[in-house]
Symmetry: D2
Subunit: 414 residues, 4 copies
């Protein structure tokens, strides 16, 4: 086990730790720690909702979750010698849930997947699922099962949902400008089009006073992925991956969090992964002037060798035609939405409720592919479900599907 | 070798065959042949441009290609006993290029990938690549190499770009309505938003006279994938796959064509696959009332077991921010475009021209994934390039990339 | 399709072809054809018993098969410029069964697996299976099924059972010496310990007269693999593999045959693969002085990328203790025999006869591994059966196995 | 993290723990702990030499290691309700090296591979490597590197080298009889043919006094695998595997140890794996009467889904001909030995010493296959080395191999 460079006490809130992390992006959040290139080190992480989601059978906590606090990021971690224009080559050596048995926090043997309500975050299919739902997963080594989703069991593809370097002031300004412009096109959209800076509940490491106020007013929210990486939610950044991040500020200031025990491509329920607190072991090397040398201005990565090995899939295709039959032009997001909806419809034939099916697609190691993007006017997206995650044969056959009562996930009391 | 149920003479144009295929979708194109459920059979196919693209070093043929003739479909193939509401379970037993040595047609030991010009088809990156380009590939068993793309060699993932059942009259009317509505929003777009029915160069099997004229005026173009499958361009419909198609008309009327020796997800250059004529061996079974029983209203499939096995990838991520810096809302097509552009920029550091890099991404077995679709406002798409397709190490490293002169692909004379 | 450099008329016996192949190893068998390095070419092959095994339900043909005629080798193929001490790098571009429909010979849509009788060849488990048995397989593209083995279907791992270069006179003499020495230890063993030169039914290409008689008296039988490759029966020499063979004589004189549609590790029934006639496409390059440069004195290879992808296996372990309980010292062959016997016992619980189970293990893409070779006194060998080859769940479970009547394979009339 | 059911203090010798394990097999070693079927639990393990091998650059500790103390087994673990004739279905949920930082013991960030001297254990190639050697490996998450083996880095395939159930008195008697019979054929062999019961240094859990003496005199050594599993050294019993063990005594009495960070098939240097102390998380279920129901009399298993995914291999084949040219009859152990020797010769061309190459083959996730076992008189075995474990291209090519000075492993002072 390598040295713990950023430690978290899982019995305390993220804002009450000895060394504070952050939940906004800004170049002036001070580095919490410094590491040397080539050194193995460990970072501990809180789960993204800081312990406010419980291991129970009600989704009220998801319904009422406070989005202003996310994401709980461990860092910034400065890397000796890193300068703007370099690349950080970050090896994800290992990661996993909280190893200590200190209490009932997600990561300690369990995690959760949430469907967020339309008026509190929403999700990919929020028009079809406007309410809050939840599934609690139990961890058995690398395998996850859920009392809320009987008949499903799979090997997780663990990864940090969020990892990235600090933006430069110039890059941050660009983010704020372009996202502000988008918001301005429809400021009252629900869910919103984007999230502007929000001082409320901002956590900025060791910053205090006027400097805190200035930075809190400028700092970018952590929801979207951006040129610095950030909340990419790429499920394949799993054990053994090497990720190359651009360096925008001296030291690079790497931060990370939002650990996932598993996730399907797209993290479609918004909180679609299996959320957990835990640890991640890293090693960082610096490629001097790598951005220019390799023409890299956004993260590039090499996946690891231990992704769960499934080889039989049931695949659903979607087109860029809306549910009401309107033709859209090469819209891959819509095509993927339709593929997801087809898969959900299909799974209900085997006894799952639509909410259960949606939760499965968010959390299991499903793959979402951009299969066709040029055949006007229809984009074609495909969703691959590993058949072995079910304890029944989910393939179409001459006989009828084995529809049994599979209960229900956690629901909210409205 | 199973019985040839639909034969093609590769030395003659598709419109001059003894048994005629078709290049438009319509329920009233008569079945060319009937097969029994459970029977293995072979279908022969012309390459999608009917032999008008040549094995040479000029892209003028791509520049001048006549899009009104595509796609050359073998079929329709009626399946005994299939009725509307059923599912056809189609096993792709095998497929490959033209086995006989009859002439210089694509498929006879070679194939091609084209970048179509902006004013003649366009493509995914047509704003960046407005002209026509071409690469010719040589087949060595399952491996492809190209004199236009030195340093690249890969195992192809062969598949039919297009396979589907005939639409019902009602479904066809819906297609024409929704696509016409889209065209009406900008009728003069270049490339166009969608393609309306086009009697010119229509080929409708054995139809003639007034019936031909009626059907030609109504029949849908074959470019987009739709609820019947069609031009899905899903690279994973390779050897050993089983595809479930909805049946909309008696007999199902399965048709197929546009065989690809290989393709990357998205077929991004529009003619991005390695195009070839060839053969495909199939077996079809009927699942009675399968559409309703399994809730299937669009194709579902199970991939085969012999996809080329690559395990080391270099992956590029893209966001839904335009090249000029404008923020778009969760636009996965844009995110994938940016990932493709990042990859192209990267490959130029190793000596490829941008056109060469674009052609490689279209043809090699790359994967395109919808990695994030909910983290407002940025969609995140990822593009996975197998590193082993290059005869050099393409990974970022401490040293500089090995940039050597890699020549150029076929270009057009403008 | 590349040029056919060695052609076979599948309607005629191997000894009646226009260009004769051979069935013995000797440096003086003249090259039948010459190829250039880097050239793609095709070789056609008879199945190893030259068409004497039939697509029927009796194993009498296996019982009475004449082992003096095997193997029917296509070649020798001289490679321009190859000299003793070089390595031939042989790319297996593609291979498959006989594509033409010319008659009832194995390879034309079907193949067979045989259990040879103890007094005519024997096999790995001949003490347990002293009689002749047979299963006929039908090919559906890359998939094999057998009416003699209901419930089984798999993607084949096609390969040449036998490929190799000609020995030098010195090497041949060494083979004859060492194998003769072994035979001398028990000349009357049944099955024999090894096979001495046998002029009867020898086929030596274009040799005739006294030279034929001399060579026939010296030439080595083709049964065992040796330093030149030969009958290695390595199932992984499948499509896309590159094999490096030592060159012992000018031109290398590559020969090959014994094509298999599939095989399990060990080819345990002796004729354990699915035997077929067919074609194989090759390309050869010469690595000058490669034997010394790389220290290679026996074949080395790189497997291809399209081996059938199975990921769930049921694995049986065996020890080097005989069936009667006698302890042997680190005997891996015995350990594998016990693993095979355990697997056969297991499969009978699901309704197969022992002969059927044995035939399945010989033909399906099972893996046999040397798991432990140092833990005195027990070697440990393991046999991996892909669970997906069965249309039932073959794993141990709380409930009883689904034992149904699965009929019987072809048997002999004694 | 599940409850720790068997705890080990890594700062103390195995014989000085609060709860004692054992190092001999006997039905009367009392259960140290009892678990319920379906319960997740953790077991902690000492490395197999109890901390006597050091992280240094001398192999004297390997040369002098005391083989009478092995293996240090955690257990026996009784399973509620298990009765003779049942099967234990043991899920390996997770395993890894010692997580705490308590000292310099193998498993705490490092492990070792040893070549044992001929007169102290020996190994697969002991005739070629009669002296002691050692390599120390550093763990970086799932990756191992060694200062003694520069240029090598791989993802480990972690597993327990030894796991098994207690034998019945009848089975134990059979073991002692058959192994004693073997020893009697050559009692003075070096290394010995087998290991008889040895009271010296026996550890038998809580047994004391006369009962200890009786059991110590009868108990079987743990070196070989047997019908109860035991020291199978199957590298594929990795994370996610399910192993079915026969139950011979009430409670089953499961024991385990000899954790390996990685290993090649065969564990050819005897101490060929990367040895480590650590933890393993398990769950056990009972299949009543499973031995008879499924015909299982030796362990059966289903491998997990996260074995390191390598797809490009360099493969060496060996025959059953001795190094001095003597022909042996279908001897797969010899064939594998020759394949290993070929691979070692080959690797020396790239600058490794033979000892270094031997250590690499023992520890990396190489595969050893029984490729041919029936082609008299030559068995054919193959050894697959993943090419990606090297930081150079190890494939034969037209140019010479990149032979650089790669130093040396740890050697002994004689």
């Amino acid at each position: 086990m390598p040295d713990v460079k950023f430690s978290v006490d899982q019995s305390r809130a993220f804002s009450e730790q000895d060394v504070l992390g952050h939940n906004r992006w800004h170049p002036d959040v001070p580095a919490a720690v410094t590491v040397r290139p080539g050194e193995d080190f460990r970072v501990e992480c809180r789960e993204w909702f800081d312990g406010t989601i419980h291991n129970d059978d009600s989704a009220d906590d998801v319904r009422d979750a406070d989005l202003s606090i996310v994401h709980q990021l461990s860092g910034p971690i400065a890397v000796e010698g890193a300068q703007p224009g370099d690349l950080l080559a970050v090896d994800i050596l290992d990661l996993g849930p909280v190893p200590q048995q200190v209490g009932p926090v997600a990561g300690q043997g369990w995690g959760y997947t949430g469907i967020f309500a339309r008026d509190n975050g929403g999700g990919f299919l929020t028009d079809h699922f406007p309410d809050a739902y939840k599934a609690v997963w139990d961890f058995h080594g690398l395998t996850a099962t859920s009392r809320h989703l009987p008949g499903v069991s799979f090997t997780g593809i663990a990864h940090p949902g969020l990892m990235g370097t600090a933006p430069s002031a110039e890059l941050l300004a660009r983010w704020n400008q372009r996202e502000g412009d988008l918001i301005a096109t429809n400021p009252s959209a629900v869910p919103p089009l984007a999230l502007p800076p929000l001082p409320e509940n901002a956590l900025l490491g060791s910053l205090t006073g006027a400097e805190f106020d200035r930075v809190a007013g400028e700092a970018a929210r952590t929801a979207p992925p951006r040129e610095n990486g950030g909340n990419q939610d790429i499920k394949n950044l799993s054990r053994g991956s090497r990720v190359f991040y651009p360096v925008f500020v001296p030291g690079g200031k790497l931060s990370l969090g939002d650990l996932h025990f598993s996730q399907g491509d797209g993290e479609i329920t918004f909180c679609g992964a299996i959320e957990m607190g835990g640890y991640i072991d890293l090693r960082v090397e610096v490629i001097k002037n790598g951005m220019d040398t390799f023409g890299v201005e956004a993260p590039v990565f090499i996946p690891g060798r231990v992704e769960p090995r499934y080889t039989e899939f049931l695949t659903f295709a979607g087109l860029s035609v809306t549910e009401s039959g309107e033709q859209r032009y090469l819209d891959s997001s819509l095509a993927y939405r339709r593929a997801c909806l087809h898969a959900i419809d299909y799974l209900t034939k085997f006894g799952y409720t639509p909410e259960q099916a949606y939760l499965i697609l968010g959390a299991a190691p499903i793959e979402g592919r951009l299969s066709g993007v040029v055949d006007i006017p229809n984009a074609c997206a495909t969703l691959y479900i590993p058949t072995a995650i079910f304890d029944f044969d989910p393939r179409p056959s001459a006989g009828p599907p084995r529809a049994v009562d599979r209960g229900q996930c956690a629901v909210s009391s409205r």
